[in-house]
Symmetry: D2
Subunit: 158 residues, 4 copies
C-alpha cells in the first residue's frame, strides 16, 4: 500500500522551511472541513491536532493504545487554539507537534499549522496519563520521556 | 413546530441550579459525539460552544449572520477548553455562555457544560468583529454591547 | 434536568401533521452541520438518521448497547439517503423512523426529515444483529420484534 | 509543499491491485473517524466518498467550484453505501471513484474503499448539475462528459 499520512522528521520539515519541530505530517484541506463561510472551520484545526497527537504518541512510544495494562490511557485536560490566518479548500498544509514540558504523569504539547510559507494556527494541549481505570495517575514510559527530551528538547519537571 | 434547542434564561438556569449565567441551552449526547473510548470526544465540546456562540450572538443582537453590510463577520481568534469530567452517551446537559469582556471590536466569551449537578467542562473564546471583507475591524452594534453588559455584566474596555 | 431530544410518539407526530410514523424526535439545524454552500451537508442527514436509529433501538428494546451478552451488536450493512429539498441554518425539523421489514437477524428501517410542512429527505438502513464477537448472527429479542410489528406495522419475514 | 491527497490514475491503481477504476486517492484512518465501537463510523465512509467526489469533479472538469456563471452547482440527489467489512484505526486505504452513467444534467458515480487487498465498502451517488440559482438544470461541460466516457467508460444516456 502507498504510504500516506506519513510522519515527517526534523530534516524533512527543515526542507519545507519549518524550524523547531521534529515531528509533522502533511495533508490537504477537504470539503467537509469547510464551514458556511467556506473557511476551514475552527474545530477542524483541533481534529488535525488530535490526529497529530495520536500518531505522535504512537511514534514516541507514549502509548500503543492497546487498552491493556501495558499502556496508559491518555486524556486531554486542556486544549488551546490560536487562529492566525484563514484556510480554504484544497490548501496543502503541514501540522507539526512537539512536547514542551514533561511532568511525572502529564505533559504539555504544542502544535502548529503551516501552509504556503505562513503560520495559520497554533495550539497547545495538556495531556494526562492514567491507568486503564481512567482515574489513577500513571507515570510515563521511560522511552517516551527519552524521545520527548531528545527529539523535542522537552523540559523535564519533577 | 415544536420548540427545540430553545434558549434558557437566567431564571430557567437558576431553576436547574446554575448560577452566574443568563443564557444557555439544553441537549443530550448523541452517538456520533463519542470517540473510540466511548467518551464524548474533546472536539464535541467545542462544537457545543460553537452552537451556543452562534445562537447567543443572534439572541444578543451581535449579528444577524446576513453576510450583508448590516452585519459584522465574526471570527474566532482564540479558543480554550478545560475538560473536568468525562461525559457519556445519552447524558443530558446544559451549555451556558456569557460575555466577560467587551473591547471596541472584539469580545471574550466564557462557556460551561453542566450535567447531573457537576461541571464537566469550561471554555473561552476570543471573538473578533470584522467587516464583510474579512479584514477591517468593525465596532459592535450598540444594542449588542448593551445586552452583554446588562444581561451578562460584561466589563467594558475602551 | 430539562427533557431534551425527547421521543415523539404517533399522536405527537400527527399533531405536527406527520402520518405513518410512530417514532420521531425534533431538533434544529446547527452551524457545524452546514457546508461551504451554507446548506446542511448531505452527511449531516445521515448523522440524524444515526441519532434516530440509536434512540429508536433503545426505545424499542432492540439493544441496551451494553456490550455484554444480554445485548446484540448492531451494524449497518447498507445505508441510503434521498435528498429532496435543501435545509438551512436554524431550521427546526423532525426526524422520524420506523421498521419496515424484520428478518430473523436483520431488519430494514426507514427515515424521513420533515420541516415546515415539507419532506426534506428520506433514508433507509439495513441493520444486522450480531453477537458481541462481531461475526455470528444473533436473533432479535422477542419484545423488540413485537414493538416493531405493533407500533410500526413492520412486516415479518422468516 | 509535499504532494498530499494526490490523485492515483489507472496505472497506479493497477499497481495496487485495483482494476476497473481510473481515479483514486490513498489515505489512512484517523482517530476522529472511529465511533464508540472503535470501528470507522459509517458516516466517515461517506465523507471519504465526498472528498473523492469533489476532487474527481475538479480533475475531470465537471466544475471549478467557482460559484460563478462558468461553473454548475452540483448537488447530491441520492447516496448509497454498502458496508462490507469493518475498518480500524490507522489502516491505510484507497478510495476509488468512477462515473457509470451520464445524463444531460445528471450523472451517477460509484465509489469503493480498498484496504489490505479486500473491498471494505462500496457506494453510489446520483449527482445533479444546476445553475448557480440552485434550481435550473444545467447541461454538463462537454470536456467533463468526454473525460467520463474516455477515462471511466461511462455510458451516455440522452
Amino acid at each position: 500500500m502507498l504510504p500516506y499520512l506519513v510522519t515527517l522528521d526534523a530534516a524533512q520539515l527543515q526542507a519545507e522551511g519549518i524550524e523547531g519541530f521534529a515531528w509533522g505530517y502533511a495533508d490537504r484541506v477537504r470539503f467537509h472541513e469547510l464551514d458556511a463561510l467556506a473557511h476551514v472551520n475552527n474545530n477542524a484545526f483541533l481534529r488535525w491536532f488530535e490526529t497529530a497527537r495520536v500518531l505522535y504518541m504512537q511514534d514516541y512510544g507514549v502509548s500503543g493504545f492497546s487498552r491493556g495494562p501495558d499502556d496508559p490511557q491518555l486524556v486531554v485536560r486542556r486544549q488551546v487554539a490560536d487562529y492566525l490566518s484563514p484556510m480554504f479548500h484544497d490548501e496543502s498544509y503541514i501540522v507539526t507537534a512537539r512536547t514542551r514540558l514533561v511532568k511525572p504523569s502529564s505533559f504539555v504539547m504544542e502544535y502548529a499549522v503551516h501552509s504556503g510559507g505562513t503560520l495559520r494556527a497554533t495550539g497547545e494541549a495538556v495531556m494526562v496519563s492514567l491507568e486503564q481505570d481512567g482515574r489513577t495517575r500513571r507515570p510515563h514510559k521511560p522511552e517516551a520521556v527519552g524521545a520527548m527530551v531528545e527529539r523535542d528538547e522537552a523540559k523535564l519537571q519533577e
